[in-house]
Amino acid sequence: MAATIASFKVDYFQFLDETGQLVDGTQIPALARDMKQLTSLYELMTLTRVFDKKAVALQRTGKLGTYASSLGHEAAHAAIGSAMREEDCFCPMYREYAAQFYRGVKMSEVLMYWGGDERGNDFSGPAHDFPWCVPIATQCLHAAGAAMAYKLNEQKRVAVTVVGDGGSSKGDFLEAINAASAWKLPLVLVIVNNQWAISVPRSKQNSARTLAQKGIAGGLPSIQVDGNDLIATRWAMDKAISAAREGRGASVIEMLTYRLSDHTTADDARRYRPEDEVDTAWKKEPLVRLRNYLSDQGEWDEVKEEQLLKDCADRVNAAVEEYTDRVENDPQPIEAMFKYMFKNLPHHLEEQLEIAKRFPAKGGHH
């Protein structure tokens, strides 16, 4: 007997094409007609981009440490953040600022973190949201664990996590898929595939047609969307989150986008990445197409754009002020190195704190 006992597929979704036209021959999500939502998300995406540019500039002038840019990822990140509820848990990697801004994290807090001050992780977003996660893909299991907690506590909460194309090769992500399958967890696993893992192109992570199909290992609904199309990214998130919230389990969404920046400010992509690839990618970036769409709908124009850019610049500058003021005029004391290691400072750390106080670094951190 030879019988096919299981079949699977990965569908791709795009609603707003590169020029900002709605793709026809498809049922367009209601969001496409919700001008208020779209406009405010466009504003969030623009703010994020203005912030991003500023952060890179701060690093270049020595006012910030290594910084991971989100340039080009705005439609993916804005959709992720805006589709979630306050009580849901976000487990980010390290560049999902738009999602975090939507959830209440302040720009100044992002700067604190990359500015070498742990207080940035004690942010104004939901207290149950995870801080930035450096060890690649580990956040996926934290999200699975959070989802498990919600399920055991019968809370209608969802955990959402993000992993990159590179991170999708790591066991942590793959085991999270398996865990989600085993326990039918209220979890959304988003692969933000920006084509590069530092210098390693997507094609070297594996030879499969999609990364989304990794979800099939656990039998999870797995789709791929145009990660630069806010309508598609948000539609996919809404679908996955409501499935999770209603007890239908986890899903995998692969968002196809492009890292328009260097990996971080410590990286120089020209060493390994053809310029023309980047030029082509710029033609697909998420903001322009959304702006064109909004303009065609009569919802946006030059004047509004100028005003928005000015507001964003002002808000970003205020955030930079807040950041520099805090780290310079209210730096963390040496105690801060010790007092959060345990809830109650153990004896041996008290002794070490005394030594640390006695031998502070000469001339601060430089």
Binding site: C91, E118, D122, L141, H142, A146, G171, Y340, F342
Partner: protein
């Protein structure tokens, strides 16, 4: 009051805390119907249900990583690694996340979890079932490493570990899981973490150990007594952070110290204790600080296992060496 073994004391402590605290969940491979391969969780799933005593897929990275997520959202997971040799895949999540979550978030989040594992050699099991890796855990900041050596300490210290607001690695000496029975009242009385327990008073030499080696060390103390040597025996119990004070005090009295552990010698916890003496206790030393430990080799398969394990004889010999110095 029941006479129970060390492993039964573990079960009793788990059951007690699960009754007391609805956020405590047991999470691991075969912990459910099977009650764990050593029966440490026997009966718990029947009593508390499979939503609180949870059999996991076979994936230690997943177990540790999910534990961090669960602990951060209001649960108190008590993870069981089936054997200490299978904890290595957990290292990344324990040291990079569990041990750092409170610190990283300036106290906004925390990870009140316990990572239990049957630990140590001497049961004639296959490879990876007989290691002593406490030093691996002890070196990492942000996590406590606790090792009981009797039924009552297993009960009291595990209660304390579960109640502790920070992550604790709890290593259970499997060789003595069923060695002695002790009367242990299920009264919910915890024992203090971060302190040594003086098991035997003595004046001539201080024997410092933990875990199953308490057995051989006490035997050695008795043998020494027969030869007129009075040995003080200290069970370290919490190997990180270390209660150096109690050890130094003892050596101030005896002037001699032999440290005993099953783990390999190089960079074992015994080194930290000897180093503490080389600093704070140096003026009291009447003899070199000796370490009787496992060798810097892989624990052999069982036919050679007992050639690896430190014996009472080796401890006695080392103690006598220290006594050769006036």
């Amino acid at each position: 009051m029941a006479q129970i073994t060390l492993v039964e004391a573990v079960t009793m402590a788990l059951a007690h805390e699960m009754k007391e605290d609805p956020t405590v969940v047991v999470f691991g491979e075969d912990v459910g119907v099977n009650g764990g391969v050593f029966r440490a969780t026997a009966g718990l799933q029947k009593e508390f249900g499979d939503e609180r005593v949870i059999d996991t897929p076979l994936a230690e990275v997943m177990i540790a990583g999910m534990c961090v997520g669960m602990a951060s959202q209001g649960l108190k997971p008590v993870v069981e690694a089936q054997f200490e040799g299978f904890m290595y895949p957990m290292v990344d999540h324990v040291v990079n996340h569990a041990a750092r979550l409170r610190h990283r978030t300036r106290g906004r989040m925390s990870c009140p979890a316990v990572f239990r594992a049957p630990w140590g050699g001497g049961i004639h099991a296959p490879e990876h079932h007989s290691d002593s890796n406490e030093a691996t855990w002890a070196h990492f900041p942000g996590v406590r490493t606790v090792i009981p050596s009797s039924p009552s300490r297993a009960y009291g210290l595990l209660l304390a570990a579960i109640r502790d607001p920070d992550p604790v690695v709890f290593l259970e000496p499997k060789r003595i899981y069923r060695w002695q029975r002790e009367e242990v009242e299920d009264d919910g009385e915890e024992l203090p973490l971060d302190v040594c327990f003086v098991l035997r008073d003595g004046t001539d030499v201080t024997l410092v150990t933990w875990g199953a080696m308490v057995k051989e060390t006490m035997e050695a103390a008795v043998a020494l007594e027969k030869e007129g040597v009075s040995a003080e025996v200290i069970d370290v119990a919490t190997v990180a952070p270390l209660d150096m004070e109690t050890i130094v005090e003892s050596v101030e009295k005896t002037g001699r110290c032999v440290i005993v552990h099953e783990a390999p010698k190089h960079c074992g916890v015994g080194a930290e204790i000897a180093a503490g003496l080389a600093d704070q206790g140096v003026w009291h030393l009447k003899a070199p600080v000796k370490r009787v430990t496992g060798y810097d080799t892989v624990m052999p398969l069982y036919r050679n296992e007992m050639n690896y394990m430190p014996s009472a004889e080796r401890i006695v010999h080392a103690a006598k060496e220290t006594l050769e110095y006036a």
